[in-house]
């Protein structure tokens, strides 16, 4: 009885309704129900702060989607989270824990900056394509260091990718204070990149730039690659069962190397997009911790590209809407961070129900 109740809670609170024997809500509703529950728990916190949760959430929605500019800002935030989240997620598929997206974002931005500062005479399309390529390659090379250490010496990528973040941060600091410093400025940042290398603005009067198109394209391509290519198949096997992979003649280390490079490259694209679409110059704090949020987003998206898209969008809306909520209903912005944490807890926690259902299904089919 207890178990039945819990299962219903986990899976069905969003759907409610009848409990005919044998009827069960589809498994895909489990994470949706978890998200709703997280917001309900967040409502309790907001109420504790002495504010009506309904009003606070209304303001949150308004802040994220209430105006043309709000929607644009939400999409602007979605872009780096999505790209870096895809990078982290593809690594998770192969059971690789790349927590160095932050550093790879910065290296991607460094690549785009180089193109923008020193190769500005290109035509716009060529300039942007070159910046994208350079950023991808630099992000890939950055994680490539960790990949080489892992494959050659068995060094844990969990540690090396994290450490490479700090190196990347200091490297950017060195570049913007030293060789690449804008001579005309007092503050440490580079000069503006050439217009040919900037991503075009999509909605006039807002900051929404073509980076979102790049990110959505990357989502679609990655989804196709994972599902429909030999590489995607092999990555799935390597991630699920490396022994079975080598038994099947799949070269584990090649797949792992390729996946790590792809992962770093995607995070590098986030850096390109931030630099060439938003800031137009390399400066400290360019990434604002996107690389770490990407880990949460990859987990929330369950490693699937379109799941990552939904998670990135949700986090972006929370961040943008949280500002609005703070301004209009005096809810501290930290509540938004708590809600983000609750989202992770509830969605990851709901895995239990999914796993239990799988077990029940396999028992049924096996018996």
């Amino acid at each position: 009885m207890y178990r039945a109740l819990k299962t219903r809670l986990g899976a069905g609170s969003g759907a409610g309704g009848e409990q005919r024997p044998g009827w069960r809500p589809p498994a895909d509703l489990i994470p949706v129900a978890a998200v709703l529950l997280a917001f309900m728990a967040g409502a309790g916190l907001i109420a504790l702060a002495g504010v009506s949760p309904l009003r606070a959430y209304a303001n949150l929605l308004l802040g994220a989607f209430g105006s043309r500019n709000a929607i644009a800002e939400t999409l602007v935030k979605t872009t780096p989270l999505l790209l870096a989240g895809l990078g982290t997620a593809v690594a998770f598929r192969g059971r690789i824990v790349n927590i160095g997206a932050e550093g790879q974002i910065l290296m991607g931005a460094v690549g785009a900056t180089y193109v923008g500062l020193y190769m500005g005479q290109l035509t716009p399309v060529a300039g942007i394509l070159l910046a994208i390529t350079t950023g991808f390659v630099l992000g890939a090379l950055w994680v490539g260091i960790a990949a080489a250490l892992k494959l050659r010496f068995g060094a844990s990528e969990l540690i090396t990718t994290l450490m490479l973040n700090y190196i990347a941060i200091e490297l950017v600091g060195f570049l913007i204070a030293g060789p690449w410093k804008d001579p005309k400025a007092f503050n440490p940042f580079t000069a503006l990149i050439a217009p040919a290398v900037r991503l075009p603005v999509l909605m006039s009067g807002t900051r929404l730039h073509a980076g979102i198109i790049l990110a959505l394209l990357a989502t679609a391509v990655l989804s196709y690659v994972l599902r429909h290519t030999v590489y995607g198949f092999q990555l799935g096997v390597v991630g699920a069962n490396p022994k079975a992979a080598s038994y099947s003649g799949i070269h584990n280390s090649r797949v792992i190397l390729g996946t790590m490079l792809l992962s770093g490259g995607l995070a590098g694209l986030a850096g390109v997009s931030e630099l060439a679409g938003l800031h137009y110059r390399l400066l400290g704090g360019l990434s604002a911790g996107y690389g770490y949020t990407a880990i949460a987003i990859a987990l929330l998206g369950r490693g699937k590209p379109f799941g990552v898209l939904a998670a990135a969008f949700l986090f972006a809306a929370l961040t943008v809407g949280g500002d609005g909520m703070q301004q209009s209903s005096a809810v501290p912005v930290q509540v938004v961070m708590i809600i983000e944490g609750l989202l992770l807890l509830f969605v990851l926690g709901s895995e239990v129900f999914r796993a239990r259902r799988k077990l029940a299904d396999s028992k049924r089919e096996g018996a």
Partner: protein
Amino acid sequence: MTPVMQLSGITKRFPGVIANDGIDFDLAEGEIHALLGENGAGKTTLMDIIYGLLRPDEGEIRVRGQLCHLRSPLDALARGIGMVHQHFMLVSTLTVAENIMLGQELTRGPFLAPREASRRIAQVSSQYGIDVHPSYEVSQLSVGEQQRVEILRLLYRGAEILILDEPTAVITPPEAESLFCTLASMRRLGKSVIFISHKLKEVMAISDRVTVLRRGKVVGTVRTGETDERQLAQMMVGRDVVLSVARSGEGQPPGAVVAELRGLQVQGDRGNLAVKGVDLALRAGEIVGVAGVDGNGQPELAESLAGLRRPCGGQMLIRGEDATKRDALQLAGCGLRYVPADRTARGAVPSLSVADNAVLKSHRERPYSRYGILNHPAIRRFAQQLVEDYDVRCPSVEAPAASLSGGNLQKLILGRETASRADILIVEHPTRGLDVSATEYVRRLLLSQADAGTAVLLISADLEEVLALSDRVAVMHDGRFVYEAPRESVDLGTLGLAMAGLEQARGRDCTEL
């Protein structure tokens, strides 16, 4: 006399299936009661209910006449019911004594009392003739020794009823012998045992009574002395079974040598020399059986043949060409197929679908992929065909392979490996853990492969299987072939000696530790 335990009308439904349907069962004091049934007959569900892991939808459990509701394994333990699972629940970094004490630590003030505990463990173990060293770390023990620790732990905690879930599926024949001795002494001391198995021979050898389950129902309970293997098999499967699939004497003469090993040497995982120079020729249409106790170099031999472990000495020739340095993919291209011992950790990926598992190796080839793009319809069609041809029972080819029973998963793997032309087929413990009908199916398949001209290397710890299927028999011991003979001239005495000699060598290894 009231039975120690009595189940009446136990029913357990899972969505879409009745796993246990009105089961009556009783266990007397000092009895070894075997529970026999094919995979999926409901044995494990029933035991999970007795052990408090599942609650029955209907029916009641009485322990010593007292009605009880078991809500957890702790409840079960409190009533003297203990269970030894197939996968042991031991902490590998702790010692034997620590594992046994775990959860019931003997203390003096705030401190553990390891010496006191060791003494009590020694007392219990000598009482039941269970041979373990309390100070050894569990990670150093063999699987059979770990099992002894599990049993000892339950006895130490005062379990009166022990449930053993297919205890011999994971241990070697000599270890099984010593397990049976332990069970006999437990019976003498008034403990009751429920022995789950689908191996008829064992059930006949050790049990007092047998209850047979089929499709969630009790087919019958019989006294072991009043039945025989044939009757039990028939109860289990519901029809007559050919108990022994065997190689008929008048097969065609073997063909040309397809693969040859010359002085092959292979290293084991710990850097030791596991295969110490093996010469072997595999001929088309011939089955060579390699018998021997587990852990004498058989897995290393199989892996090196399959290209998963590079030999460190000697040569491997395929059709006269040197293939020593070829990897798994290249060897597969030479028509070599390998069915590994571990179905879920190596032979298949349980979390992927049946269809994906069907093309685990061939996904690179047309028509399953073209220019790196998968052709899902072709993959599905192939899987569908495989499932039909090899009688793999699965809900659909999209279902995860984890939902398949062991026998069906093995059929899927065998089907995948033999669907395209196989010149050399290496099979490792092909029927381990399978039920009677799946075993029969797999053995028939191996015979038909040989008849079709495949050179088959059968590695098995099941001596009967090796003798029944092989044209030539070899015994592997300490990395070498210590005995080789054509099947007609196998001398069981000599063969047995070759394997018994193994036991002495192992014993010496143990004392050196």
